[in-house]
Subunit: 206 residues, 2 copies
DNA sequence: GCCGTTATAGCACGGGCGGGCTAAATTCTT
DNA sequence: AAGAATTTAGCCCGCCCGTGCTATAACGGC
């Protein structure tokens, strides 16, 4: 048998190269040639693991989504599930803040993700993963609100469907603005707006 | 002297073709050739009015921005300036709702605009117009909140800086989600979320 | 040591791209 | 009628693209 290479690992390495090129030069420059160069491979090698550029893009998008979801769900598990220590309000804030681009690395990730979102508008093959991502985020937000409500920390009588959409859209919008104008909309302001929004949903605690 | 052609009009017609191609096939397909075809011109003609593709893109982006701003400011003048008729709350809602993609046409516009936003991440020459657009929207939101406050219709003690960012981000996020999932996030839900947000800022009335 | 399998490498083709450049058509002024 | 200015048209070059395809290299089982 041949050279020992873990094909899964290789595919991830190539997808990584896609994301690096997309972050640095834009998704439109993530061609097979550029990606192969970035990964230190020949173009033929890349094509050995991916049938074509379309499959590569779908996979790379999936990898990015997986990475983002993994980071969030790690915090979700740590902060949401156990009857953990610390202020519930503070924990909720930290969990949702994890979806925001609070540092340069996550801002880059968000920028590349936005590229995929934009590309999906005219490339149906990307829409599946996109919908899954958005559904996951919506569900997370919904669960957070539900939990908060169950703990009696939410203003009574709120329509959770509307509140979920509102909070989810707020997170998306903050992310979009932070990607567009990192200097104008910095981490502090992102957190302040999110904190203020959560406060506005909470029952008064004096 | 030569054939009589209004160069301003021509440039707008070509920019229009750019926007149509971008809406239909994505900004990456808005090449000089495709745009010339779409406009019913030869490639040489297009290049007579624009020095290169970069200039064309900047101009097209500017045209789109101008169009969006014009629509909003028309409503802004009609709904904000005069001590007009009708419920103040309702007028405010309608003004801000004008920034949302409530129908297919505006959804397309927003999608193309999102393409430019994404492109600007790796093309500095587009950032100028982008920043201007965002600043204009922020200022509009700020002014609306100021006016509402001046009329005494706002919960006292609000931090208008934070509220401006929050509302502006909410509008951006709603737009983004409506572009991504037009079926899931329809016009009714957009309006409902916006109305609810404005209500949450208002003093109780009854 | 040999072979089959798999990884790596990359040539070659057709096509789209931006842009330098030339040439023709058009139309107002003289 | 002649000529100058402007618009329209598009050839041609070099570059990058994806992909079909072939050739070589690496390595484990026999």
């Amino acid at each position: 048998m041949p050279k020992i290479v873990d094909p899964v690992e290789r595919r991830q390495a190539v997808a990584d190269a896609v994301l690096r090129v997309a972050a640095r030069e834009g998704l439109e420059h993530a061609s097979l040639r550029n990606v192969a160069d970035e990964a230190g491979l020949a173009i033929g090698s890349v094509r050995h693991y991916f049938a074509g550029s379309s499959e590569l893009m779908i996979f790379a998008m999936g990898e990015l989504a997986r990475r983002i979801e993994a980071r969030i769900h790690t915090h979700a598990a740590a902060l949401l599930d156990p009857a953990a220590t610390g202020d519930r309000r503070e924990r909720t804030l930290q969990l949702l803040a994890e979806t925001l681009p609070l540092d340069a690395e996550r801002r880059e990730e968000a920028g590349v993700w936005l590229s995929f979102v934009t590309a999906a508008r005219t490339r149906p093959e990307l829409r599946g993963r996109l919908a899954k991502m958005q559904a996951g985020l919506d569900e997370l937000v919904h669960r957070v609100l539900l939990e908060t409500d169950r703990a009696g920390a939410l203003t009574p009588g709120l329509d959770l469907t509307v509140e979920t959409r509102r909070l989810s859209a707020l997170l998306d919008g903050l992310t979009l603005q932070a990607v567009q104008h990192p200097l104008l909309v910095g981490p502090d302001e992102l957190c302040a707006v999110l904190r203020h929004h959560l406060d506005s949903l909470a029952v008064a605690r004096d």
